[in-house]
């Protein structure tokens, strides 16, 4: 069940990566795409042995049009390198995933990992405007474009986002980027009890100017971020009356990466009961405005299954983002697949009929 990786290769170009993918497919080998390796343990343990194709040599910024606020990059560029390019012109990609730094853009798209800023900006699903992928038959295909609004043909960006590479290995992507906010302020409040902390988070979320991020911790600490014009952010901070803290708090937070890591995703108002039921002493952090909590699982697979049963019943999911092969095998990375699994399988078969990419790892 536990499978090693026979070899690792680092193609220098997208064309070479596509060729290596095709060759492996023809030789009946499995292929495991790897970017920064930050989400390497996501999903179920692979079903068979194969080669690793690393995207990290594909690290160029292909085009950054400052005036158009659009950037095209190769998939292996790190998020940090991309932000460094964008910041030169006062722009940024509003993506702040956990287990940072070190994510590649391709890895973030394939895994669908996000962070606190999703509250304000949505996920890359909302600002990914073009994509190029390598298919197991060796073709390189593109969808979308380099404009911020586009309805020409099927939105394949949505299919590849979060698909863990199972419909093709992402080699390049285009994004709509955003201007740095005029003002960026962070405030925090620590409450005596979790009940009060949830209420405080709700209070921040209900401010007339919505916060860009609100994070809640088991020790009663609530962290909120307001982005906007100077007077507007000033008023929000004054009205809320919390303590201003350095924005570095977010960098610290983004390093979080539990060893046995589960992501609880719920309809927003169903999140709290699930988190409350994790029990005292469990480590977690929650994004109450998004409906997501990240849980450092202290116990075993049966704890995951119990929380998952409750979460699924309330319309949510519990997915394993990290952990040993044994832990992931025992708990199952995904839980009950959706009723549309047969349609997802048809799509997978249309692009990767022999399950060459990440076999056994994804739900499909």
């Amino acid at each position: 069940m536990v499978v090693g990786r026979a070899t690792a290769e680092k193609p220098a170009t997208a064309e070479e990566l596509a060729r290596r993918l095709r060759d492996a497919a023809e030789a009946g080998l499995a292929v495991f795409p790897v970017g920064g390796g930050q989400a390497a343990e996501m999903g179920d343990p692979p079903a068979r042995e194969g080669i690793e194709l690393r995207t990290t040599a594909l690290d160029r910024v292909l085009e950054h049009s400052q005036a158009d606020m659009v950037v095209s990059v190769e998939a292996g560029i790190t998020l940090e390198a991309l932000q460094a390019e964008l910041t030169k012109s006062g722009q940024f990609l509003p993506l702040d995933p956990f287990n940072s730094p070190g994510h590649t853009v391709g890895g973030l798209l394939a895994s669908g990992w996000t962070g606190p800023l999703r509250l304000r900006y949505g996920s890359p699903r909302d600002f990914l405007i073009g994509i190029r992928v390598a298919l197991p038959d060796g073709r390189l295909v593109s969808a979308g474009g380099r404009v911020v609004k586009n309805v020409s043909g099927y939105d394949l960006m949505k299919l590849h986002y979060g698909a863990l590479g199972t419909l093709g290995i992402i080699v390049a992507a285009s994004f709509k980027v955003f201007p740095k906010p005029l003002k960026d302020v962070t405030v925090e409040s620590t409450r005596e009890s979790l009940v009060e902390a949830w209420a405080a988070a709700e209070q921040a979320l209900n401010m007339p100017m919505a916060p860009a991020a609100v994070e809640l911790f088991p020790n009663g600490r609530v962290l909120a971020r307001f982005l906007g014009s100077p007077e507007a952010t000033k008023r929000m901070v004054a009205d809320l009356g919390w303590k201003a803290v350095d924005a570095a708090a977010w960098d610290v937070h983004s390093k979080a990466a539990p060893a046995n890591w589960a992501r609880i995703a719920m309809p927003r108002h169903q999140l709290r009961p699930i988190v409350d039921n994790l029990g005292a002493g469990e480590e977690w952090w929650a994004s109450p405005g998004i409906g997501i909590a990240n849980w450092a699982v202290a116990g075993g697979a049966e704890d995951v299954r119990a929380v998952r049963t409750a979460a699924t019943a309330a319309g949510g999911s519990v997915v394993l983002l990290a952990g040993s092969n044994e832990f992931r095998h025992d708990a199952g990375a995904w839980g009950t697949p959706p009723a549309t699994l047969h349609l997802m399988r048809r799509l997978r078969s249309a692009f990767d009929p022999n399950q060459v990419i990440n076999p056994g790892r994804f739900v499909v």
């Binding site: 699903r125 298919l135 474009g145 609004k149 309805v151 939105d155 698909a163 201007p179 005029l182």
Partner: protein
């Protein structure tokens, strides 16, 4: 080709006798949408609910009859035209707002609900539905989801796909499924994401769960005049470049302003080469600061005669001029052909001058009214259908304009869809392999090709893309 009697009987059993239309004269009503090409369906079926939609699609699947979902018929790319005959699936009887949840800030609607009705219903909870196509008084949420429609306020808020949380859909075999829903990060492939904007070619939509947003406490709307369309374009880039993303940033050229002013008397400056309509919203502090910043940027870029709406009524009047602009153009010529393309924002001056030259070449008046902030242009070619041989000229002019859009690195459509209108042009942007990848999705979900056939993908039996091959593919040459 008329449907066999037995098939019609099956359809009548599915939805009730009075909800199947097959008389020649009545069918003609469903020949067209708001695009320029039409085709009469063989039958029109008006289901009342999901089960009936499923039954109708099962009949269509059994007999391999094309089935084309249709909402208000306001689409501009021929998405609702039954080009290969078959059944028009008219969903306008399914027009209930099933639920507005003010706590979760969501709405669950049937596909025939009119866009504006939803926002009006949400308003009592101080919520609104953000995508606001200019046809919002008539167009349906189902049609919006099928076409991934936009609107002026999509600059800040995003287009339809960013607001659809989940859908109940009926696939080509009649199978009913929910795709996505209220919770984020759902397990498996994002079917909902690819179905939104699939133009009725993958499924029929029977329920839509959408996100509602809190109505901003304050709004400021500014009209500004510019000596030339180039100056206005420059100002658009300057506003965005200053780090300000307004809620809406719309442009109208001189031709449009003249027609609008004659019709609405909204106080639009008729001497201007172009006007911008800029809106910012948020808390009062924010709108004050942002509007002051916008005014400064516009003034530095030759903006003059700036006028900020002083009341909700004045704001409505300014917007009435914008949203009713296309109707007002009827003062110049009785017919119009409204195009849709997107260029990178910085290419607006180039594309607008190219559009102007093409109009002059074909001796056709062109009026521009569009979402400048997104680079989403809408050249309106004005003509009189009674003029001999004018239609081929209009079509050629439109095709050349789109070609210019693509050559500047743009997209064939920002919010109207490809449909019938632009399917022949898809190879300008996408390679054969790119299109084949999209067709794998089609084949996986609609193996027999009964869902809205003849749309999106080039049909070799129909019209050839005459201008294709003049330059390399935009996607290959300019992107990667």
């Amino acid at each position: 080709m008329a449907l066999e009697k037995a098939v019609l009987e099956e359809l009548r059993r599915a939805v009730g006798r009075e909800h199947v239309i097959d008389s020649k004269n009545d069918l003609r009503i469903f020949e067209r949408d708001a695009s320029i090409e039409g085709a009469v369906p063989d039958a029109v079926v008006l289901p009342a609910n999901t089960a009936e939609v499923s039954s109708v699609i099962r009949v269509a699947a059994k007999h391999r009859i094309p089935i084309v979902p249709r909402g208000a018929g306001t689409g501009l790319s021929g998405g609702a035209v039954t080009i290969r005959g078959g059944i028009a699936l008219q969903v306008t009887r399914m027009r209930r707002i099933l639920e507005i949840d003010p706590v979760a800030q969501t709405a669950l609607v049937e596909p025939g609900v009119v866009n504006q009705e939803l926002s009006l219903a949400a308003a009592s909870h101080k919520l609104f539905y953000a995508p606001d196509p200019s046809s919002q008084k008539a167009c349906t949420i189902g049609g919006n989801a099928a076409e991934n429609s936009g609107g002026p306020h999509c600059l800040y808020y995003g287009v339809t796909t960013n607001h659809v949380l989940g859908m109940e859909v009926v696939f080509a075999d009649g199978n009913v499924q929910w795709v996505s829903g209220d919770s984020p990060d759902r397990i498996g492939l994002d079917l909902c994401g690819v179905l939104v904007g699939s133009e009725g070619t993958l499924c029929a939509i029977t329920k839509i769960k959408v996100r509602l947003l809190r109505t901003p406490p304050s709004v400021a709307t500014l009209l500004a005049a510019f000596p030339t369309i180039e100056a206005a374009s420059q100002a658009v880039s300057a506003v965005i470049g200053a780090g300000i993303v307004p809620a809406a940033l719309e442009m109208m050229d001189r031709v449009c302003v003249g027609a609008v002013e004659a019709h609405y008397h909204a106080g639009y400056p008729t001497d201007a080469g172009a006007v911008l309509l800029v809106e910012v919203d948020g808390i009062p502090e924010s709108t004050l600061e942002l509007m002051a910043a916008v005014r400064g940027v516009l003034a530095q870029n030759q903006g003059y005669a700036m006028r900020e709406a002083q009341s909700p009524a004045e704001r409505d009047l300014l917007w009435a001029g914008r949203k009713g602009a296309i109707g007002a153009l009827g003062r110049i010529k009785p017919n119009y052909y409204l195009h849709d393309g997107v260029v990178p924002r910085s290419k607006l001056p180039q594309i607008l001058s190219a559009v102007g030259e093409i109009g002059i070449h074909y001796k056709l008046p062109v009026a521009n009214v569009f979402h400048a902030g997104d680079g989403n242009l809408h050249p309106n070619i004005l003509f009189d259908l009674r003029d001999r041989d004018v239609l081929p000229q209009v079509e050629s002019a439109g095709e050349e304009m789109l070609r210019a859009v693509v050559e500047l690195g743009g997209a064939l459509s920002g919010e109207h869809g490809i449909g019938l209108e632009k399917s022949a042009f898809m190879p300008w942007v996408y390679s054969a392999d790119d299109l084949e990848a999209m067709q794998r999705v089609k084949a996986a979900l609609d193996a027999n090709g009964i869902m809205n056939p003849g749309k999106i993908f080039p049909d070799p039996n129909r019209k050839h893309a005459q201008l294709a091959g003049r330059t390399g593919l935009a996607i290959e040459a300019k992107w990667w």
